[in-house]
Symmetry: C2
Subunit: 712 residues, 2 copies
């Protein structure tokens, strides 16, 4: 929704006046004017300067009313006897007027009395809160929650980044934990949720149009079946307003990212022949990783490094340079960046530390400023570098990695980057990219998302982050991206304690986690609860096809696993299909009479491979089933690798016929189940030994993404 020019002008006038008078808080009548301009239902009210005015107003507004002294000289109205609430007749209102004015005079004989505000008293229905604040990360953020002490204690409130559309506003009303209350649970009066969503959307429009509104509170709003009406308005101005970050266009970002990920040439500033030096490790990794473009070692003291001709400076290199990887100490970076600019280098990859993370903020700012002046984009500083497997590119001082696959991973921290690398290697996870972001002095998550969105080598993205430099840009990019490909985010500093640690580490002001949580969901991002989960999702998501519906079926050889898998399904937000009678009959044909059909389908433990085969095939071929969870139990009759081979064969046969459903498996058994799990993974079946939770969590993440992308 957008406000007309006259609405905007009306608000502008109110705000300008208040700002001109140096006031941060709007008065009650001003708040009312602002709300009226944007169609936000505020209580009717007016200013009375005589008992006759009072009578007129009460006839207009109806009873009950609240009456309050209006005087620039009386700040504490209640103390001055200047507030009377619950006035329920014209006569009583006239009396109240006299009383209030009399009290005010007694309280301060010299006070200038503007009059008495007569305000409609709103009540009935549910008390809710609708508000907006300026979040350091995401800018204008609207909030919705139920009012009252209980909910304040239970913190049942939800946030979205503004501006938002009606569906997003509706998702707030339906997204709080106690949403059922507003839907009329347990005999409560149902609220008009459309009306609430409408108010939220109007508040969102208002604060978007007027960034100088720092805080906006409607508290309480009375929500009944008839509509929603605010009983009190509080508007605080933030004269500084919000500054929008300067951002390159999408085309510019893509141009740079294309050259960074697919460089025709890479220079290594500080390349070295000396074993153990970072400039040596990077050279070796570029070479050993199999990168096919030009490699230019830059070192004034060398003529040749690892068989490549060395140059004393960037400007001496004869050809074009797409990427310059810096391995020199921090203090030598800025001058070389200027040279990069002259040479037309797209991206400088700053491995060195010794910048903002060690308190050397000035040096980092100098480098950033230099880069901006010379049109060079920066990755880092304080990073391990980056990998892009489709180009065999290992621009890093860590060891090479070459297993190609569909997931791109990024990390803000080097330690987490190393964990990604180790996990990738041990699980043979196929990756397209691993990128260190470090201090994020320039290139950040939204630049990378912009590239991965259109990169056919990447089917999913997993990002570890501690903060977002530009939350709005991230959300905009992620919203678009997540419609096509899943994005997993591990947001570190989830908790107050964590956030404190984040700020001591990066100097970044870690946002309030609840805001992050809600806004990331608004962006369609799958949030991983921990590092293990992020890695599991990264490994599994690109392998699983997108499910076509919500019907999940568990087929298990171990009844005990079936129960735990069911638990895990609820935990992961998956819906166990209610198996129709005819399908139940079909399953029963394959399982022993004491096995349980229904869901889980319990084929029982002693069954041969043919029972697994028949039931899995049925699960794949029946179009009403959309995803399968397998529970395997190690027996002599069906050993682990036999199960794995049968399962992979049946799944692959179905795929050959065009049936590709997500299949995940939990393997319970002796250590041979580890090899069996690996084999299943190689066949695009997400399988883990000794756990019922992990495979189901990955399927749950795929479903969360598919739902938010509107694919289900």
């Amino acid at each position: 929704m957008t406000a007309g020019n006259s609405s905007k002008a009306a608000v502008r006038e109110v705000l300008d006046k208040a700002l001109a008078e140096g006031r941060q808080a709007l008065t009650g009548p001003e708040g009312k004017q602002v709300c009226d301009a944007y169609g936000i239902p505020a209580p009717a009210e007016g200013l009375a300067t005589s008992v006759d005015d009072v009578a007129t107003l009460v006839r207009e507004i109806g009873t009950p009313v609240a009456m309050k002294i209006v005087s620039p000289d009386i700040l504490h109205k209640t103390e001055a006897g200047g507030v009377i609430v619950g006035v329920d007749s014209e006569a009583a209102a006239k009396d109240a007027y006299e009383t209030i004015v009399g009290n005010a005079r007694k309280y301060d004989a010299s006070a200038a009395i503007t009059g008495v505000q007569v305000q409609q008293m709103v009540s009935g229905g549910h008390e809710v809160i609708i508000g907006a604040v300026t979040d350091p990360t995401f800018g204008k953020v609207v909030a919705f929650g139920l009012g009252g002490v209980l909910v304040e204690v239970l913190k049942d409130v939800t946030f979205r980044m503004a501006p938002l559309d009606h569906n997003e506003a509706k998702s707030m009303v339906d997204g709080i934990k106690a949403a059922e209350v507003l839907q009329g649970a347990r005999g409560a009066e149902p609220a008009d949720r459309e009306a609430l969503a409408d108010v939220i959307q109007r508040v969102s429009a208002l604060v978007t149009d007027f960034p100088e509104i720092g805080e906006f509170d409607l508290n309480p709003v009375f929500a009944s079946a008839d509509g929603a009406r605010a009983a009190d308005i509080r508007i605080l101005l933030d004269s500084e307003g919000a500054t929008e970050r300067e951002r390159p266009s999408e085309e510019e970002i893509l141009g740079v990212m294309q050259r960074m990920m697919n460089p025709r040439s890479v220079a290594v500033v500080g390349a070295s022949s000396e074993e153990g030096k970072i400039g040596n490790s990077v050279m070796k990794n570029l070479h050993n990783g199999g990168y096919a473009g030009e490699i230019y070692p830059i070192n004034p003291k060398a003529t040749e490094i690892l068989g490549y001709q060395a140059y004393s400076s960037i400007s001496d290199v004869p050809g074009d340079i797409d990427v310059a990887v810096f391995t020199v100490p921090a203090k030598f970076v800025a001058p070389a960046i200027a040279e990069c600019g002259a040479k037309g280098v797209a991206t400088a990859v700053l491995i060195p530390s010794g910048f903002a993370e060690t308190g050397n903020v000035e040096l980092q700012e100098e480098v950033v400023e230099t880069a901006k002046q010379h049109g060079v984009r920066l990755l880092g500083p304080n990073i391990y570098g980056y990998y892009y497997t489709p180009q065999n590119l290992c621009a890093t001082f860590c060891t090479p990695y070459d297993v190609r696959g569909g997931v791109a991973l990024t990390s803000q921290s080097g330690g987490i980057g190393m964990a990604i690398l180790g996990y990738s290697r041990t699980t043979k996870m196929g990756v397209s990219a691993i990128v260190g972001l470090g201090n994020k002095s320039d290139i950040d998550e939204d630049d990378l998302l912009t590239y991965f969105e259109q990169d056919d080598n990447t089917q999913a993205v997993a990002m570890h982050l501690e903060d977002l430099k530009d939350g709005k840009a991230f959300v905009e990019t992620a919203k678009r991206m997540t419609k096509k490909k899943p994005v997993v985010v591990l947001k570190a500093g989830r908790t107050d304690l964590g956030a404190r640690a984040a700020s001591s580490h990066t100097g970044a002001l870690a946002g309030d986690d609840k805001v992050y949580d809600d806004v990331l969901r608004q962006a369609g991002v799958i949030r991983a609860p921990g590092l293990s989960d992020m890695l599991d999702y990264a490994r599994g998501l690109p392998l699983l096809p997108t499910p076509k519906g919500e019907n999940v079926v568990i087929i298990t050889g171990a009844g005990g696993s079936g129960v735990l898998l069911s638990d895990a399904c609820v935990e992961a937000g998956l819906s166990l299909m209610d198996i129709p009678a005819d399908l139940d009959t079909e399953f029963r044909k394959h399982i022993p009479p004491f096995g349980a059909a229904g869901n889980p389908v319990d084929i029982t433990g002693g069954e041969p491979p043919s029972t697994y085969e028949a039931t899995i095939r049925l699960g794949l071929e029946d179009p009403r089933i959309h995803a399968l969870i397998l529970g395997y139990w190690h027996t002599i009759v069906t050993p682990p690798m036999v199960f794995a081979e049968v399962t992979a064969r049946v799944v692959n046969e179905a795929r050959a016929k065009g049936i590709d459903k997500p299949v995940v498996a939990s393997l319970a058994g002796d250590t041979e189940v580890e090899q069996a799990s690996d084999y299943l993974f190689e066949n695009r079946i997400v399988a883990y030994p000794y756990t019922t939770e992990r495979p189901v969590a990955v399927l749950g993440a795929k479903y969360r993404w598919a739902r938010s992308a509107g694919l289900l």
Copy 2:
């Protein structure tokens, strides 16, 4: 608290009268009598049969009062115009009396009118609910929650098994999510929580003394700063009462368990020389596992099996038999059980399936009956058997396992048993026992806990269970046990969906999960959220010493890991120590100037082994620190195995000096961190690669146990 004989007699009289009249519901006055007898604060009330009575009662009770017709012939009092509430003066009460009696006569001229109940109207403070129900698993269970639609929707209610002491009752009042509200959060009136706990305890005593009270509701109870007063009472009788399960004494249980775990001799009923038969596998495992006692194969068709002399029946065996492992088909079990009884066998281990789990309930009941008659206890049926490593005893058809250690594991399901075995083998987890419980026709978790409690080979217990046959016995045993050793429970069927699956699998009526959750906590049990967690806790808990206080310190080489470890601490309920200034100074001596002391102590990534060593030593030697979490980051300067060796050495040196604190570690790096983690585990340091959550979760579990055992 216990009620006196006269109180009991008063209640007995009321209940007997109602039961004699065939009523399930007590009347209002009866409810009042019951409450009065147990000191449960019910509203004052009395029966008026004249306007004079009314006047007297109102003077006694005070206003306002509620007045209700009392007539055995009028069921729908409100419909009959027989209820007037909010009567606020003596005069109004007299009028109300006439009105009510008049209305009743108009409504049903033939109705016998006993009189009019005049009841104190209670209000003010917070509305809470106190109640009791009969749970199928735990028997009498008391409930406490906040009243109102919101809490009904948010399901903020807590349960405990009755009877309970004052501390347990207090833990209910303080244990609901919205507990702060009762403590006076955000300007709310604080409630008298002692008074609430007192009411809970009295309700607990009442339902314990009178099992025939099936449901008991005080709803609402008004809890204010002055006390707690019920406004309405509802008591429903369950004429069937509850039947207590017959249970052997602790000495009897221990006697049998001692013989089962440390048998001098084991007979294998159905032993076989034929490869692939269960009776052959069990023989091999007993032999190859290294069991040193007598092994008696029972097989009428053999003279010798695997070098052991075979006997045609149990009765033919010359020596005593402690354990008879059954590997014959289900139908042959019962007769052989009788023989076992005659022979004095302590326990029959029933591997065969084909009993209740396949619907063959009668056969199982027959076996149980036979066993009871002949004084033989049963393990199973439908199990893989059991292991007890201190005796090299592998009485199972699975493969042998011999890594001795401090944890005993049990599983209700064979599949989960196999997962336990595989996980144990791959992690070299030291175990004392692995026991299959299967259908739990006789021996169950509390029998095993009774043994493990006094077993010096067992330092911790981890149990997978789908139901409890006797919740009371379990809680009693676990309460005692968990004061000494941690007990981890993975309760499958956590969710409605899961519970449905449980009941289709075992025929067991899975209890409501919220009741399980609260009562398990009441028993001091650590509940594992999933199978992976149970296995991690089982592996780690026996290795970690009991912490002596709440001060946890993170020492990390990777700032990024530090943030995630902090998050994990909050998740696990751990408290990051506020580092005192002098200690901060000490830490700073060892770390680079840009490293962050505070907590996490961030030693930064490029540091040599000596920095890890110095900071870890400081963390161990300062008595104000109680536990350490280490975050390792793989670098060339401090490779994984170097970190592992340094850490193990420092920790072992401290142990040699009598300082033994829990130390856990998260290792971020390339695959060498896997070997380093294993090495740390061998040195009693709980360490995992590629995850920040798992090591912290294990430490959190240790703390949860230590707190509930009163050790902190």
